[in-house]
């Protein structure tokens, strides 16, 4: 492939990269346009992000400009790179750590009050490396935000409950959502701040802490109450949004808890197993001898989950679920038998006439970590096993393109589900 070098040294004007919108929420689409190229010239569009952890992430696509010297990422096809075909958002979802990076990285924003900065640039020719060595022909900087203007961020520290509450702008009160993350622990705010940007008061909860003083279940029950009782939250409209271990807890509480009665739930990559025992230690009682290793020595925990799941006494009685539940799972989930679990849940709920409460979204070639759209896909990442403190590389599964499609599709459907149950079902209290 001949690549014509475009000169910027001769004083001629460079091409122009424009991205609209230049400041957007992370789930909003962008249009990347390059103009003023020579007609029919091969160029590479490149995206670069310097993460909070100081790693570099990039994506790139190979394009050919039209007779006017224009490349439109939304309309043209990429012929190679980290994505191919017509992919308006390919420069974001196909990002991966640059060559030479540490292994097993995962990209997650910790500070949601500042945007994620991504540099979009255009390079001469179809190249696959050396982006940092040669200056681009032109570039534009974009901001990707996890928080809309006007969203309030409130730290919560009450009797064992540690989390962050995000309140949408406006008079309120708003429907509420308890946001339960997975077994990796920590306080991850980005999904909550994004959900709040869509009109739901969302509480991101840190429920796996080293503080043994408060049993896990009391923490979650207390958090749910804090949300319900908050003056900016509509107490009859509080739901739960779980991921992985958070989903397991969601299903358990929804079925079994006398205190927690969510109006509806979203469970991503979970299952209906009983977190045995009423303590943190009980949650993490996993049959680790069932862990398999793949050809790269990455941990596959699917069978661990299966072993638990296939023991009837470990199963939550989902016949007791009384609210609408949206299950989102990936068919290539290597971490947990989420799809098998969903099938069993559907069977059990149908048997007691509650099948109408359950909606199942299952995506092919999609892994365990189904996150907000346009975030990069991680097939395997570093993980610290809570019980043993062992550092492993966990295989989550999924192939990048189908997994990214699943993230985009499921997010839209999750928002529609929440909107329908938590907003539309409210009777308007306005006088006509």
């Amino acid at each position: 492939m001949i690549s014509r070098q475009l000169s910027t040294m001769s004083g001629t004007v460079p091409p122009i990269v424009s991205v609209v919108p230049s400041r957007a929420l992370v789930d909003e689409k962008i249009k990347v346009l390059v103009e003023n190229l020579p007609p029919g010239s091969p160029v590479t569009l490149h995206s670069l992000h310097h993460s909070e952890d100081r790693d570099y992430w990039e994506a790139y696509g190979h394009y050919v400009s039209d007779h006017r010297g224009t490349v439109s990422v939304a309309k043209d096809l990429s012929f190679g790179g980290t994505y191919t075909g017509k992919e308006a958002m390919g420069l974001l979802w196909s990002m991966h750590p640059v060559p030479g990076s540490r292994k097993g990285l995962r990209l997650r924003k910790r500070d949601v009050c500042s945007p994620m900065l991504v540099n979009i640039s255009v390079h001469s020719g179809h190249i696959a490396e050396g982006f940092r060595q040669q200056p681009p022909l032109a570039s534009a900087l974009i901001e990707r935000w996890y928080m809309a203007p006007g969203v309030q961020r409130i730290s919560i520290k009450e009797t064992g409950v540690r989390g962050t509450l995000f309140i949408p702008p406006g008079p309120g009160p708003f429907p509420g959502l308890l946001d339960l993350w997975g077994g990796g622990g920590g306080l991850l705010e980005y999904r909550s701040s994004l959900i709040a940007s869509h009109g739901f008061a969302s509480l991101a909860l840190e429920y796996l802490s080293s503080d043994d003083q408060y049993p896990l279940f009391s923490i979650i029950e207390a958090a749910f109450s804090i949300l319900k009782d908050h003056p900016q939250v509509i107490p009859e409209r509080v739901g739960i949004f779980g991921l992985s271990l958070g989903s397991i807890l969601t299903i358990f509480f929804t079925a079994e808890s006398a205190v927690i009665k969510p109006f509806c739930c979203v469970c991503i990559s979970g299952s209906h197993i009983y977190p045995s025992g009423k303590s943190r230690k009980g949650i993490n009682h996993l049959k680790l001898n069932k862990v398999r290793l793949d050809e790269n020595n990455h941990h596959i925990w699917r069978d661990v989950g299966r072993a638990i799941f296939h023991t009837p006494s470990n199963q939550v009685d989902v016949g007791k679920v009384n609210c609408p539940m949206l299950l989102v799972n990936g068919l290539d989930d290597q971490n947990w038998p989420t799809v098998e679990s969903a099938e069993d849940m559907a069977e059990k709920m149908n048997a007691v006439g509650k099948g109408h409460l359950l909606t199942r979204l299952e995506y092919p070639d999609t892994g365990h970590l189904i996150e907000p759209p346009f975030s990069p896909h991680f097939r395997a990442t570093n993980f610290i096993v809570e019980a043993t403190k062992e550092k492993v590389i966990m295989l989550w599964g999924g192939q990048t393109k189908p997994h990214s499609d699943a993230q985009e599709d499921s997010w839209r459907k999750i928002l529609a589900f929440l909107q329908h149950h938590l907003y539309s079902s409210l009777t308007p209290k306005v006088k006509l």
């Binding site: 460079p14 424009s18 439109s72 640039s121 534009a140 008079p171 509509i234």
Partner: protein
């Protein structure tokens, strides 16, 4: 206690945009046929509150889309996607003669958009909204760099677009109030032009020495741009508003140093003594001050420069212009005789044979202050001419709806003009 619950959803997209970008305001989840008011509130840097509002009736799906549905009344009517911004006006009880301007252009303008029940016209602050959202309006795109310039005795700010460059350059001049106005240069840089906002009436050097700058000051500014490593020296344009136009035309035609690629003159005139520089122009205005009229406490300056002289020593010989010129003119300009000047300039250029360089955009019922779009229109406002300290109320002219349309159209056409002459390519009407 029975709390009112609102299921009304309000969204403004994009919630963070540039000042010249459009947004879509959408209200959902109200009963079909529901009457509501959408309200915009902004507290400016000087602490004044500005508001706009419009009355809508929801359709059968319980939705109001401001970009598609007509306003039935308020500070604007009809289908006006951006009406909530350009129809902003000081809240009742405000000081008269206000004009909205942002000095710190590195932070966004914040506007609170709210939905109220019914068709309201006042007392918004005493009512509970049904829903609210906050919108940020930015002057600077991400990655645009702001560089204060003091070399060569200049008082200026350079805005560089994001990216390696180099970029075409632009010299940006404002009008008779002086000070360093950065808003337009910041926006232009967000569109790919390395723009230098220049204070030529109240620069440090004039404040300290009392001396008015002359042509060499402008030529220095041009040189600073030309020699900047991030600027393509052979592609520099000049843009002026009002008095800024006078200097732009003078330099475009007579300067041996400045080789402008193109020029944009907004609400300006070519009438000035061709000898000398800024000081001569200011003296000329002072000599004709008797022609200034005051009507109902509003000062009308336009007669100052009328009638358009026939004496060639008193108007820039635009027949000698060698670069494309875009004139933006409002036919209700009460401050300067921009329309009469445009007609005369066209005549001169037709006679000289260079009228193919001229494009005149004449906007009906637009006033003097034709600025980047969606900023509120002020038909008159308090004005302190530079170096004068005498506050008066200047009549700018223009009727709000027409003026706002003119701003939107002129800005788009200005960007197309600059893109074509400075980048050498036509703009894709993509976004």
């Amino acid at each position: 206690m029975d709390r009112t619950q609102s299921c009304v959803k309000l969204s403004v997209k994009p919630s963070r945009g540039l000042m010249d970008e459009k947004f879509v305001v959408l209200v959902q989840n109200v009963p079909p046929g529901f009457q509501l008011t959408i309200h915009a509130l902004h507290k400016c840097e000087e602490g004044h509150s500005w508001e706009a509002f419009a009355h809508y009736t929801a359709n059968t799906t319980g939705t109001v889309n401001v970009s598609e549905d007509p306003s039935l009344g308020g500070t604007y009517s009809g289908v006006e996607q951006m009406g909530l911004l350009w129809s902003l006006r000081p809240v009742p009880g405000s000081k008269p003669g206000l004009r909205m301007r942002k000095v710190d252009i590195q932070t966004p303008m914040e506007v609170t958009i709210s939905v109220y029940q019914g068709h309201q016209t006042e007392g918004f602050m005493d009512q509970v909204q049904l829903a609210g959202a906050v919108v940020e309006r930015w002057y600077m795109a991400p990655g645009v760099r702001r560089v204060p310039i003091t070399e060569g005795g200049l008082t200026a700010t350079l805005f560089l677009p994001s990216g390696p460059g180099p970029f075409p350059g632009l010299l940006d001049l404002w009008g008779g109030e002086g000070k360093l106005v950065e808003s337009r240069a910041a926006l232009l840089a967000s569109h790919g032009f390395a723009s230098l906002a220049l204070d030529y009436l109240t620069p440090k050097i004039t404040i300290e020495t009392g001396k008015i700058v002359d042509n060499s000051y402008f030529e220095t500014a041009y040189r600073v741009l030309e020699q900047h490593p991030k600027v393509v020296g052979s592609r520099i344009a000049m843009m002026g508003l009002s008095l800024g136009t006078s200097m732009t035309l003078k330099m475009a035609v007579y300067s041996q140093v400045m080789k402008l690629r193109c020029a944009v003159c907004i609400s300006g005139t070519h009438v000035q003594p061709i000898d000398g520089s800024l000081e001569e122009m200011l003296n000329f205005c002072r000599e004709n001050a008797g022609k200034i009229r005051v009507n109902e406490n509003q000062t009308i300056f336009r007669d100052l420069l009328l009638p358009i002289p026939t004496d060639p020593a008193l108007k820039v010989d635009v027949g000698r212009l060698q670069c494309p010129l875009l004139l933006v003119v409002g036919d209700d300009d009460e401050n300067w005789p921009a329309q009469e000047s445009a007609v005369d300039m066209k005549d001169m250029m037709e006679q000289a044979g260079n009228s193919h360089l001229l494009t005149v955009l004449l906007y009906p019922k637009a006033g003097h202050l034709i600025e980047p779009p969606y900023s509120p229109h002020a038909r008159a406002s308090t004005f302190v001419p530079a170096n004068s300290h005498q506050e008066l109320v200047a009549l700018w002219g223009g009727e709000t709806v027409a003026h706002s349309r003119a701003q939107e159209d002129a800005w788009r056409k200005t960007l197309v003009f600059l893109r074509e002459h400075l980048y050498g390519c036509t703009m894709t009407v993509e976004h």
